[in-house]
């Protein structure tokens, strides 16, 4: 009988095998999992690195951008030699170097209403690390309509927020009904962003993804975690699904995917 894990893999994942709650069965689940990270940028970088290191069997990367110099201050999956190449190729190269067990699927395209359902359909969990409101809302709507769990995160200057959507629970629109008017929320290129901030949030997102998969602990469902790096404090805002929510409520007005028109927070 072929061993399920090679001796090299037994060593690689030793700390998971020895961890109550993960173990052999958990590592098998990780290998069978398919996770998609939308945005190989600030948030996506640590999420991708940790999911690959953990041995998630299939990792999809969705991003239509190329690596630029100003990305390298915080987008730690990329490096200087990768400037100018597609973010998906750059990230894929790094992930495979960390862990060749991982099957990496590159979706080298921007997501919009016309392609998102097709990209999402085969994945078990989505990590949203988009840099603009339009796509954040689109990812939310797609996950609600397709009944896919996902981790949302957003950041600005020294603060960030994250929560986990599981069907039936609070979604992004329950609290944030629609994108803010274009230009009203400072653009990351104008406002700046502390480089380490996505490291904290993206790692939390990867943690939630693995916890969801393995059924561990308490997820950030119905709970928005807000992080203030300057005060080094977290606070939580609790709130469940809103029956009046336009997409996940009792009488939804959003029943099909559409592209929101909103300002981009340029990464």
């Amino acid at each position: 009988m072929t061993p399920i894990f090679s001796s090299a893999q037994m060593q690689r994942y030793a700390r998971h095998f020895d961890l109550a709650g993960v173990g052999f069965k958990g590592q098998v689940k990780l290998r069978e999992a398919k996770m998609l990270v939308v945005g190989a940028g600030g948030l996506g970088s640590p999420a991708l690195l940790y999911l690959a290191a953990a041995g998630v069997g299939t990792i999809g990367i969705a991003d239509g951008d190329t690596v630029s110099l100003s990305n390298l201050q915080r987008q730690i999956v990329h490096d200087t030699p990768s400037i100018g190449i597609s973010k998906t190729a750059s990230a894929a190269k790094r992930l495979k170097a960390i862990n060749s067990d991982v099957r990496v699927i590159e979706h080298n395209a921007y997501l919009d209403a016309s392609n998102i359902a097709d990209v999402f359909k085969d994945y078990d969990f989505i990590v949203e690390g988009c840099d603009n409101f339009a796509t954040k809302f689109l990812v939310n709507d797609a996950c609600v309509l397709l009944q896919k769990p996902f981790s949302h995160a957003g950041m600005l200057r020294f603060e960030g927020q994250t929560f986990t959507y599981v069907p039936g629970h609070r979604c992004y629109r329950c609290l944030f009904r629609a994108p803010p008017p274009a230009g009203s929320v400072p653009n990351c290129a104008d406002a700046g962003i502390l480089g380490m901030l996505p490291g904290v949030l993206g790692s939390i997102q990867a943690t939630e993804a693995v916890k969801y998969l393995l059924g561990l602990g308490e997820l950030l469902t119905d709970r928005l975690l807000i992080f203030d790096a300057l005060a080094m404090k977290f606070r939580e805002i609790w709130g469940g699904r809103d029956p009046g929510c336009p997409v996940c409520g009792d009488a939804p007005t959003i029943t099909a995917l559409r592209d929101e028109d909103s300002g981009r927070c340029e990464s």
Partner: protein
């Protein structure tokens, strides 16, 4: 007679010296309404309601910023 309104604002016990609408509260904190959402006693009022909702003693208010970066 103690006229202060005692509320929970962003998780902190806060005293207001006088009644305020949600709009006035945001203005006091120099926040433009379009850049935030407000959760008022676990409900998410529409922006149109901010002028009409007068904060009362015991209210629990969370002001959450829109954050679009990733």
């Amino acid at each position: 007679m103690n006229l202060a309104l005692n509320i929970m604002l962003n998780g902190n016990a806060t005293a207001l010296a006088e009644p305020l609408t949600l709009s006035a509260l945001l203005a006091r904190h120099r926040l433009k309404p379009e850049t935030v959402v407000v959760e008022y006693n676990l409900r998410v009022p529409s922006k149109e309601e901010y002028d009409r909702i007068e904060i009362r003693d015991g209210d629990r208010i969370e002001i959450v910023k829109f954050m679009g970066g990733g």
